[in-house]
Symmetry: C2
Subunit: 387 residues, 2 copies
């Protein structure tokens, strides 16, 4: 195991009606709030009304930023920064899935920074003294509710880039599984794929002898396998929604990489290039790329790790590592398919037109990945293999 520091100060309020315990957390930071959300589903399910009543009762001044889109745009971030400055906001409350939370992290970072918020995405600025943020999660997927990372898209340049800093970890997150009851089949499947993909990214490193994080990762993969289809078939199954929600949070709060390298992440970087141009659902893009990536990087040296997953998660009993590994990859592909996810880029009407550009942009900051270093040509091969 490698050396690491564990420091996860985000408080989680997990369970039914936990939003009612949120006000003391908010008041720790002040009384002027930016309430950020997406397309308005929180107005349909009653959460918005609950919040407005809570804020009134507690004399909280609220400014709203709505309409934050999936693959959140830098334009929303800029608008949020403007609102926070104009209204002297104390705390940002992100209500939604990863897109809303990610946008709020970029806003939080931008408020006390003099330049443009896109600077964080291109390495031109470091996060300093961000506004505090809290979240109310309405989609089990990105894990953004308990970490300091964000991914923002630039609608002008068609770039999609990550940023992050420990100080951007939410101060608190409300995880009420009932808020995910209304998530449709497609988004539920994409969310489970996203959770599983995060676990894969952290699992697939060259580290050996990292039993605890590996076994934890396998535990969370099995959770996805246990409940993914249940949540699609029975959207109001609390047990399924709760276990998936908690798995999604734990998958990316740091736990799975303590003692290891920080993950592979090649697949995410490749998918970002796809969704930057085509604006596809992140989970759907991952469902296509991950099995192709797995087949591409699998070799005799790393087969033990693929085989370990195959045996411990997918019940593969094959003794030969390479064969077991391939069976495990097939099981992953099959599972994503049963989640209703596409398996080829052509399923999303994406052809080879932009592959050369995507491959080049994916590697703009250097080779990708950990378990195998990928160059532009490798990325192109993976994208072509996914057509």
């Amino acid at each position: 195991m490698r050396n690491f520091n564990y420091d996860i100060p985000t408080k989680i309020l997990f369970g039914k009606n936990k939003v009612e315990e949120m006000m003391p957390e908010i008041k720790t930071f002040g009384s002027r709030l930016l309430l950020a959300y997406g397309g308005g589903s929180i107005k349909k399910n009653g959460l918005y009304d609950t919040l407005v009543t809570l804020f009134k009762k507690n004399d909280i001044f609220v400014v709203e930023l709505s309409g934050i889109q999936p693959n959140p745009r830098i334009s929303s971030v800029r608008e949020g920064v403007r609102l926070c400055r104009a209204h002297k906001i104390d705390l940002i409350l992100a209500v939604g899935g990863g897109s809303v939370i990610d946008a709020c992290k970029a806003i939080a970072a931008g408020v006390n920074y003099k330049g443009d918020a896109w600077d964080f995405m291109i390495g031109k600025a470091q996060v300093e003294n961000p506004l505090p943020i809290g979240t109310i999660l309405t989609l089990a997927a990105t894990g953004s509710e308990m970490n300091g990372g964000a991914v923002i898209s630039n609608d002008e340049t068609l770039d999609k880039r990550p940023m992050g800093h420990p100080s951007l970890r939410p101060k608190f997150s409300v995880l009420d599984p009932t808020y995910t009851f209304s998530v449709n089949k497609w988004q539920t499947g994409a969310g489970v794929t996203d959770i599983m993909s995060h676990i894969f990214e952290l699992y697939y490193t060259t580290d050996k002898g990292v039993f605890v994080p590996d076994a934890m990762a396998e535990a969370l993969m099995k959770t996805c396998l246990q409940y993914g289809l249940v949540a699609i078939d029975e959207p109001e199954n609390y047990e399924a929604r709760a276990n998936l929600m908690w798995a999604g949070t734990l998958a990316l709060n740091g736990m799975l990489s303590f003692g290891k390298l920080p993950g592979d992440w090649a697949t995410h970087m490749i998918e970002h290039e796809i969704s930057a141009i085509y604006d596809v659902t992140h989970g759907a893009g991952l469902a296509i790329i991950f099995p192709v990536w797995m087949e591409y990087v699998l070799d005799a040296d790393n087969a033990w790790r693929f085989a370990q997953m195959a045996r411990n998660v997918w019940g593969v009993s094959e003794k030969d590592d390479l064969t077991a590994a391939r069976q495990g990859i097939e099981a992953v592909r099959d599972f994503f398919s049963r989640l209703g996810m596409p398996s080829r880029l052509s399923d999303l009407n994406i052809d080879g037109t932009h592959i050369a550009v995507m491959a080049k942009k994916a590697c703009v900051y250097g080779d990708l990945g950990n378990i195998k270093k990928l160059k532009i040509d490798d990325v192109r091969s993976i994208l072509e293999g996914a057509l």
Copy 2:
């Protein structure tokens, strides 16, 4: 899954030489330190000298409290409280295993409390405004390094009682697996048994559908199984020591009970009565009682949970739950035995003399356990079954 709050602010500095990164954490709280340790093994392995040098270099005023014993005594706690008050201590640094850390928690609670520190153990006082503590762990076992609990023995009344409060969580803990290289075979085996017992206590509740905490618990049980004997056979095997150390910490930091009832704990309460009178090694007492307790409480209603452990951890393939459960219990007994632990009270020269007293004292605050409620007669039967 049940509602829960996650709030684990303890920082962990994990790995080789991590003690060198500790000073900024200490300085957050002040410059006057109580250095608490046990029998002096830290003087043999060089850690004491490292610390003295660090403290000198950083102008830290240090008072020492040494000689804290296994099953730590209230007399040590009282002495610590006296020292902290006399020297206006800012922070307590516990260097050792769970006994030293537990004693320091009771000291931390006692300093700003006007009555006697034993009051916390008998429910006469609540913890308020404790001194901050930090720890350097030298034994993988109790998990005390990342939680707010402590168990203290009263050498006058032969009582051994738990206390706890979230504010007693260490502010930071240094986990350097190399400090456990010198732990002997007996203490290593007892430590692994203690870790596994904590996982059992949290695993065995009546909750159903708690897949995430269950799978995490199974992951940590498998870690004990993977590395327990390795650490005994190869005391300087870093991989084994590191995985066990991290498993021991995660086993009792709260993770395994989020979403569940807070555990069974009958076995621990019973074992406390044994070690209060006979001063046996905690892990050795647990190794004897746990399999007997498992056999005693197993029934048709809870067999599914025992069978789940048997299949997921011990590789039992038997289809019938009750039969699988019994095979799992045998596997646990066998594993503790291979760790060098005793299997009967008579192995520790304990006879039936005090069984009636122990059973009565174990239930002094009410029935024990969650998966099955135990009364005095049940506890007596378990103790008699362990003779």
